[in-house]
């Protein structure tokens, strides 16, 4: 008989803000906001004032004038997250990681760990000793239930749910808490007087598919506490985005194209590290007057080579940037990934593609050893002296901190 599935969801409490508080004890007990433009993370002290991730900083300042606002240090947060994920990998054979959370597959480890709740308690202790950060853990028979039960005991909590209790646990929870129900789906369901997860159960799969398309099938399973999604060792992102606000609004084509080349270089390098190639590329821009524009295009063939992606990105940019207004923000997004390192080429440019691949491999090697800022190519040279730099490259200003 196969072992009962057991998934442990680990969520880092108020991640970015908590790191800032332990790095600087003067921030302990004070409302702390991390973000530029909008809140990326805020401490529990700030949440008491009604602040939450995604809220505009202007609104946050109004609600909590005493909050300390920090732009954040994405690279430091990555270092802390990696230490936490290392702790997770010590107890679980498969761990799927995201920015501030992880799913640990503990299925079949009962003989190794004994009581899985005790193993989770040990993990929380280990993480706290190594980083000073607290995490909230939820243990359940699948990913969805593990995450949901963890939400009932935040922060620094630990909760578990058994498969036989799932039905009662889910029935009265708000429909928004069901995985796969976002704002739009929730609005639709609430307009039909479906307010709790239990209310969704009488709907047949045909109705749900008619309402939401293919995800309707998943919702029909999930509202009954069933979730068959497995824990993947490696995260393949849906998209890779890199964006920044200019330090001063600009219409200078050299600066704009230089920034795009830099952002493309960073995004493509991440794609090469993950061994995935995008089929689709997109440009987003926001003008100084707040108006924005975005467009995406497919590549002729999937590619994570900077010159291939950049050519299409610059083409999109020239079509999009039509107003005589300076730009405030630009961003690039790669999506539609296919796995595999080799660049798909036509017969006649195979040699050129091979040379390009070798050059990019060398670039990545140098940047891996000395930091991304060690090599600056082409148009991105125009950013030298205009933007601050550290060993990771130019300092970007981004609302999400992770892009």
């Amino acid at each position: 008989m196969p072992p009962a599935p057991a998934i442990l969801h680990v969520d880092i409490d108020a991640f970015f803000a908590a790191i800032e508080q332990i790095r600087n004890p003067r921030l302990e007990g004070r409302p702390v906001i991390v973000g530029a433009g909008c809140i990326a993370s805020c401490s529990y002290e700030a949440r008491r004032f009604g602040l939450h991730a995604g809220m505009a900083l202007s609104e946050a300042r109004r609600l909590c004038p005493d909050a300390v606002i920090l732009e954040g240090h994405a690279q430091i947060y990555r270092c802390f997250a990696e230490t936490i994920f290392e702790c997770c990998r010590r107890i679980a054979p498969a761990v799927e990681t995201y920015l501030d959370e992880a799913y640990c597959d503990l299925t079949g480890t009962a003989r190794l760990h004994g009581d899985l709740l005790a193993a989770a308690r040990g993990l929380k202790r280990d993480i706290f000793e190594r980083t000073g950060l607290t995490v909230t853990c939820g243990l359940g028979p699948n990913r969805m239930l593990a995450k949901l039960v963890g939400k009932t005991c935040k922060p620094n909590g630990l909760a578990a749910i058994a498969a036989e209790d799932a039905d009662a646990f889910l029935r009265d929870r708000p429909i928004e808490q069901l995985a796969g129900v976002g704002h739009a789906h929730a609005r639709t369901l609430r307009s039909m007087n479906i307010r709790s997860i239990g209310d969704l159960r009488p709907l047949t799969v045909e109705v749900l598919v008619a309402l939401f398309g293919a995800p309707g099938r998943l919702l029909q399973e999930r509202c009954r506490g069933r979730d068959t999604a497995v824990v993947h060792q490696r995260e393949i992102p849906l998209s890779i985005s890199r964006e920044t606000s200019f330090h001063r609004n600009t219409a200078d084509p050299l600066e704009i194209e230089g920034m795009l080349e830099y952002l493309v270089g960073r995004a493509c390098r991440t794609a090469r590290e993950l061994d995935i190639q995008p089929r689709t590329v997109a440009v987003r821009l926001r003008y100084a007057d707040g108006e924005s524009a975005a467009q995406e295009r497919s590549l002729a063939a999937p590619s994570h080579a900077d010159p291939v992606v950049l050519e299409r990105i610059l083409d999109l940019m020239r079509r999009l940037f039509t107003r005589r207004v300076a730009l405030h923000n630009v961003g690039v997004t790669l999506s539609g990934f296919v796995a595999g390192a080799a660049e798909q080429v036509t017969l006649f440019d195979a040699e050129q593609a091979e040379r390009r691949h070798a050059l990019l491999r060398a670039f990545d090697g140098v940047r891996g050893a000395f930091g991304h800022g060690a090599l600056v190519s082409g148009r991105a040279l125009h950013l030298k002296g205009r933007l601050e730099e550290d060993r990771y490259g130019f300092l970007l200003r981004t609302p999400s901190l992770t892009k």
Binding site: I22, N24, P25, R26, C79, E82
Partner: protein
């Protein structure tokens, strides 16, 4: 609105450190003007970007000032990375 930020210093400093149990812990560091005794290590983290890792420490000295030190494993050189300033 309180202003609290890290001011970058990035200067090489002499550091007395404890390597007991294979874990490095700064005990004191000397700037040209005087020695600062570390009374508490607030946080430590390891940055693996690059060929050689870099160890970072957020510390408080005896005057209650918060500094960030880093030890670059490539050449085992300590640098005073930044200081936290308020106001």
């Amino acid at each position: 609105m309180p202003d609290l930020h890290l001011e970058r210093i990035d200067e090489a400093v002499a550091v007395r450190a404890d390597f007991q149990g294979g874990v490095v812990t700064p005990v004191a560091f000397r700037r040209p003007s005087r020695e600062h005794r570390v009374v508490r290590v607030n946080a430590r983290w390891l940055d693996r970007v690059g060929r050689h890792p870099t160890f970072y420490f957020s510390v408080i000295d005896e005057h209650g000032d918060v500094y960030q030190l880093r030890l670059e494993a490539a050449d085992m050189v300590w640098r005073l990375d930044s200081v936290a300033l308020e106001g």
